[in-house]
């Protein structure tokens, strides 16, 4: 039997669609018997949808490196 801590990490994994079938089954089974984890999964899913909704833009890593270089050369 998995502990709640393990299940929460499984849930995070499942948010990125990277949990295996067995892990998904373990997660679902645990959700049936554990209310705390059920609400955790709900919150976690909400966070995922919020993050994709917000469409946060980031600078690519190469761009950051380039910026750092120009800053160093100027200062």
């Amino acid at each position: 039997m998995k502990t709640c801590k393990d299940v929460e990490i499984l849930c995070t994994k499942a948010q990125y669609n990277e949990a295996t079938l067995l892990e998904k089954i373990q997660l679902k089974l645990h959700m049936l018997i554990c209310k705390t984890c059920k609400s955790f999964v709900k919150k976690n899913t909400k966070l995922t949808s919020l993050c994709s909704e917000a469409k946060i833009k980031t600078l690519p890593l190469e761009e950051k490196e380039r910026m750092k270089k120009t800053l160093r050369s100027k200062s």
Binding site: E8, N44, L47, S75
Partner: protein
């Protein structure tokens, strides 16, 4: 610089609506920040200080375009469908029930709220979370970038997410 660039970039993008210009503005901001670093008294947080520089840069940018705009010809765009049927004016009225504009604005605010929460995370956690969630890199790539093993990465991301949930819960709304 790592910890602020994404935040500043997002802030700039929501205001100038162009990632190329935003990139330049962020670069200029860092440059100006470094140049006047000795004037920085440490009264405000570094981030607030950089944001206030960035605000100036955005204003300067708009001034520049405005002076260009004055020289250009005013063009009136005609609606293609406009003159076909009788009720052309009614068709162009904004739909009062539409929530589209509103939700876009909300999304921008949400983005900034999330960025603020990410800024509160420990540096490594923040890096892992943004690489995985926002840039959508695969697990192997993130592991290579941060030099950790996958199970370690999941624990880090899990902790980051727990903190983020808590933070958004307080700052944004009830999840």
């Amino acid at each position: 610089m790592d910890s602020y660039s994404d935040y500043l970039f997002n802030y700039a993008v929501t205001r100038v609506n162009d990632s190329e210009i935003a990139k330049d503005l962020v670069q200029e901001t860092f440059f100006a920040g470094l140049k006047s670093a000795k004037n920085f008294k440490g009264e405000a947080a570094e981030r607030t200080w950089l944001i206030s520089i960035l605000k100036r840069k955005v204003i300067d940018h708009y001034r520049k375009i405005n002076s260009k705009k004055a020289k250009s010809i005013i063009r009136i765009t005609k609606n293609d469908k406009g003159d076909t049927d009788s009720n052309f004016l009614e068709e162009q009225v904004a739909d009062p029930t539409s929530l589209l504009e509103n939700s876009k604005m909300e999304n921008e605010e949400l983005g900034i709220a999330i960025q603020e929460c990410i800024a509160k995370l420990p540096k490594k956690h923040a890096m892992a979370f943004t690489l995985k969630t926002i840039n959508g890199l695969s697990t192997e790539e993130v592991c290579k970038e941060l030099e950790i093993n996958p199970s370690n990465l999941w624990v880090i991301i899990h902790r980051a997410r727990t903190v983020l949930m808590e933070c958004l819960n307080n700052n944004w709304f009830k999840i």
